[in-house]
Structures are given as C-alpha cells and as structure tokens.
Symmetry: C2
Subunit: 140 residues, 2 copies
DNA sequence: TTTGTTATTGAAAACCATTATCAATAAGTA
DNA sequence: TACTTATTGATAATGGTTTTCAATAACAAA
C-alpha cells in the first residue's frame, strides 16, 4: 500500500484531497513504528508547515475509519497509530526501537475453542500482541 | 484473594491503612468487571463518603505497583482496572456486561517460536485477550 | 496511653490531550 | 470560471489525570 492508494481511498469515500491530508498520509504510511498524533504533527509539518494539530486528529480519525491505520496498545500508552496490516494480522513490537512487524497466525482456534468450552463464553474476537527485540536491536 | 489480604500487602510494603484505601480496595477487589477511576470513586463513596477522586487515582497506582490489579485494554478505552489474576493469565471479556474471566493457556510457545524464527525477533512477552459473550449474556 | 513524626488526605489549581466552535479558505464539480 | 460546501487552522472548551498544599490521622516509640 502506498500513500497514493490511501489518498485514492479517501477520495473514493467522498473526502477531498488536501495538502494537509497528503502530509499526514505520507508520514503515517511511511512509518514502520506507531506514531502519536503529536509525533505525526511534528513530522508532517516538515512537509507542510501550515498543518494544524487538529487536522492531524481529524485525518487519523478518517484513516482509522477506513481501516488504513490501527491503534496500537502498549504498556506506556494507547494513543499511537500504525498502518494497518491487510486482513487479520497480529502485531509484534520491538521494545527498544518501536518497530512494528505483522504476522498472521490463527493457530488460536484450538485454544479459543478450549477456552470457550471451559468458560461457557462464546468467543468472537481476539487480540494477540507480541513484544520483544527486533533483529537489528538484538544485534546491538 | 480477599480485600484483607490486599490491605495486608499494602501494609507490608510500608503503606498506611486508611478508610479511603479500605473503601477503594473493597470496591475493586470485589468487582468482576474492570472499573475506571470514576466508577471506583462513585462506588467506593458509598462506603466512605469523604473519599476524594484523587485518592482513588493514588490508591489504584499503588495497587498496580503491587500487581494486585491490572489495566484492561479495550477498543473503547484503556483506563479501567481489574484485580489481577495469579501468575500468568489472560483475559476474556464479555462485550455485553463487561464481566472478566481469566484463563491460563500457554500453548502459545509453538506459535511464538515460529514467529521468532520467521521475523528474527527475540520474543519476551505476549498479550492475549479474548472477547465474546459470557454464558449469562448469551442466554438472553 | 500519649506523643511525635510523617504519610495521607481532599480541595483547588494546574496540566495535557482531545474535541467543539467558527469564520476563512480552497477542493471539486458544473 | 463560478459556486457549493468540505476542510482548514486558531481559539476556546472539555474532561481526565496530576500537582500543590495545608490539615489530618496512622502508627511507632516512649
């Protein structure tokens, strides 16, 4: 997925293409780690100085609505966003540099069914997130 | 774990036992769903009217520090706390009534190792959370 | 028990992230 | 090119959380 495709998606859904949105989209789409609204603001302003923080919030809101980005939950906070993986994916976070990797892995069905049986719950969703060190950080 | 044990833990760690803390501890320890600071405040004030919201925040902070409670992450927010399970446990949340159930299940080792191999990450932690309907809510 | 030290308290103020308001602007269409 | 209206950034408002501070009360020691 490139920034152009994200912009096309926005346009297809009736949103206008503006310099502010272009700057935000290019920033978030390119990042391999989760960014907070303020981080996006700081970075995107290098592309478009007049950008306002409020517009960052509004644009992130729309990108999340279109499932182009997703919120990342971490012990230190849950305000950061990363470009969303395609289909059902889980996250793997580097605790040192913050880099995010995606992985598929629905070997959870067995576990899920066993838990459903034990607890009487009807399970419809799951969140799985792994934490560790990426190859680069592990080397240092 | 009873409220008395939580209070004992606080005392052992050099914290004083006060009516405010007793009210907060009894409220949180008894709940089978995650509570936000304001919810704790409202509920605990029925036991101790003079309680201040600030004290709720401070007490929750200490309980978390002692691993007696843990933060619960949900799509709608991540400010709520529930009494922590013993040892390594995962959460199962009812999307209707909010009831929380714990389960163990470290069948994740196989998955974790496979992901580590594929991605080059060294994995040290994982978060797993299931969502669904509890038996009672499923019946209605 | 009484006393003294000091952690704890609640109220108020400060803080910070997020959201709402609003007039000016500019995107997209006819 | 002109027109409609979504979008913008600045400002203000909001709401949750944290800090400040003087008064209080827990609890250890006498």
């Amino acid at each position: 997925m490139s920034a152009e495709l994200w912009l096309a998606q926005l346009h297809e859904n009736g949103y206008r293409l503006t310099d502010a949105r272009r700057a935000v989209v290019e920033t978030v789409e390119k990042s391999n780690r989760a960014l907070t609204p303020v981080e996006v603001y700081d970075m995107a302003r290098k592309k478009y100085r007049a950008l306002g923080l409020v517009t960052v919030y509004r644009t992130l809101e729309k990108l999340e609505e279109l499932h182009l980005i997703q919120r990342v939950h971490q012990p230190m906070g849950c305000q950061a966003f990363i470009s969303a993986g395609e289909g059902h994916q889980h996250l793997l976070l580097c605790q040192n540099c913050g880099q995010v990797a995606f992985f598929e892995g629905d070997d959870l069905d067995v576990l899920t069914k066993s838990i459903a049986k034990k607890t009487g719950y009807q399970i419809s969703e799951h969140w799985l997130q792994l934490f560790g060190l990426c190859a680069k950080c592990r080397a240092n």
